[in-house]
């Protein structure tokens, strides 16, 4: 078997057990190594898939509908009423609880940005001057009063950043109890409600404000409420 065929078959199915494929491994360490890598990749893909969080109540919602014992007429009336109820419920729940495309886009942009910037802000542990912070905020069309006393913020990272391709915002990082906490302030149409942000590493919330949106995002163990409250109380959106 030539290298091209082996390469193709290994990538198509690393667990190919056809004799000609397995025989092609004999005396070829490079092929063994490639196959080992591809099998490990498959094992890791499976591990990633199995780590997906299954919603706790999902199983309960999949029960079959109750058995029908009513008369034809009552069944029909019941079906119509139930359909109406379900439709109204679906519309309401869809409108209220399912994130809209714009909410999802902002959610994704915020999380992606924090992931992208984490290697940089994790290197910045020295507090920067408030003047530098104000300069960044002004560039993004936001101003923030430095709180006093216990609420005083120590900022270790401040940059004007692009988010999701078209948005521009200020990304500040302050130190929380357990690690860095990102505060992202973006002038964009405010969301209709607060939106939780969560992935395997980070969690937080996007909060709509007068003329924009504010996200406070930290590692899972971080207490974010205090930072959110401080920022909310002191932020002003410039014209």
């Amino acid at each position: 078997m030539d290298d091209l065929e082996f390469h193709t078959r290994a990538h198509t199915d690393p667990f190919d057990e056809e004799p000609d494929f397995l025989n092609a491994l004999a005396g070829r360490e490079d092929r063994h190594n490639l196959l080992h890598e591809l099998r490990q990749l498959d094992e890791n893909i499976r591990a990633v898939s199995e780590n997906i969080d299954i919603p706790v109540r999902l199983r309960q919602t999949l029960a079959p509908p109750p058995a029908e014992t009513r008369s034809w007429l009552s069944q029909r009336a019941y079906a119509i009423a139930a359909s109406l109820l379900v439709s109204v419920g679906l519309v309401v729940s869809t409108l209220q609880f399912r994130p809209s495309a714009s909410e999802l886009a902002l959610h994704d942009a915020m999380l992606q940005h924090v992931h992208d910037e984490a290697p940089r802000y994790e290197q910045s542990t020295t507090p920067i001057s408030w003047l530098e912070v104000e300069t960044v905020l002004a560039d993004a069309g936001v101003s923030l009063q430095q709180p006093t006393g216990d609420e005083r913020l120590i900022i270790t990272f401040a940059k004007v950043c692009g988010l999701g391709g078209s948005l521009r915002g200020a990304h500040l990082v302050t130190m929380g109890k357990n690690g860095p906490v990102s505060v992202i302030l973006v002038r964009s149409p405010p969301l209709g409600r607060s939106l939780d942000v969560k992935d395997s590493r980070f969690r937080g919330r996007i909060v709509p404000a007068d003329d924009g949106n504010m996200a406070v995002i930290g590692e899972h163990a971080e207490e974010l409420g205090r930072v959110e409250q401080i920022i909310t109380s002191n932020v002003e959106w410039s014209i």
Binding site: R46, P55, L58, R59
Partner: protein, 199 residues
């Protein structure tokens, strides 16, 4: 059972390791179907939609449809592929045309797994992100094969593609994943460029 079968089965292990209940008791058969497959169906819905909330809705709709048309399921052996096909159809009907394809959505529902070391967790997190970056046409067959445990022929039926196309997409999916995970490393291997021209 050979190595391949063993690994494939391991990849698609049902949450409760019990056979589907045979016979005519519709309700019990359905409950058994749900117990065996709802987690796999949810995971596939997640990869398909890249959004856990939409995936959850999709799974509910899928099983509702499955219940309504349960009598059309001829063989319990085909149950999983049957569910995945319903799910794909429901996704196309309910969401695909209304929802913009969001690029770079991150792994919003990965569980913390204490069994893994931090390095391994980081690696899996990067892999999750890389899978999300794959184009749908590559992600789809790969997750059906690796996550769902389906053969090439079954994937071709579920995706309504011919077998060669599925094989090509599986090949490219792994090449692309490796390129994302180790930029520059894959192109040096013999045969890679030639195979790319085949597709």
């Amino acid at each position: 059972m050979n190595l391949k079968e063993s690994l494939r089965n391991k990849m698609s292990e049902p949450p409760v390791n019990r056979p589907l209940i045979l016979g005519n008791n519709r309700r019990k058969r359905y409950e058994s179907l749900v117990d065996n497959f709802y987690q796999d169906v949810f995971r596939y819905a997640y990869w398909l939609t890249r959004n856990p909330a939409i995936a959850e809705d999709l799974v509910q709709e899928t099983f509702l449809r499955a219940w309504r048309s349960f009598d059309s399921l001829q063989s319990d052996d085909a149950a999983k592929a049957w569910l995945f096909t319903i799910l794909r159809r429901e996704n196309a009907r309910m969401y695909e045309r209304y929802r913009p394809e969001l690029v770079d959505i991150d792994d919003v529902s990965i569980e913390e797994d204490d069994r893994n070391e931090p390095d391994q967790r980081q690696k899996l997190s990067e892999l999750h992100k890389a899978i999300m970056q794959l184009e749908k046409e590559y992600r789809d067959p790969l997750m059906l094969q690796v996550g769902g445990g389906f053969s090439g022929k079954e994937i071709a039926e579920i995706l309504d593609l011919n077998n060669n196309t599925v094989m090509t997409r599986l090949f490219r999916a792994r090449i692309k994943l490796r390129e994302i995970m180790n930029p520059g490393a894959v192109g040096d291997e013999s045969g890679h460029e030639a195979q790319e021209e085949l597709c």
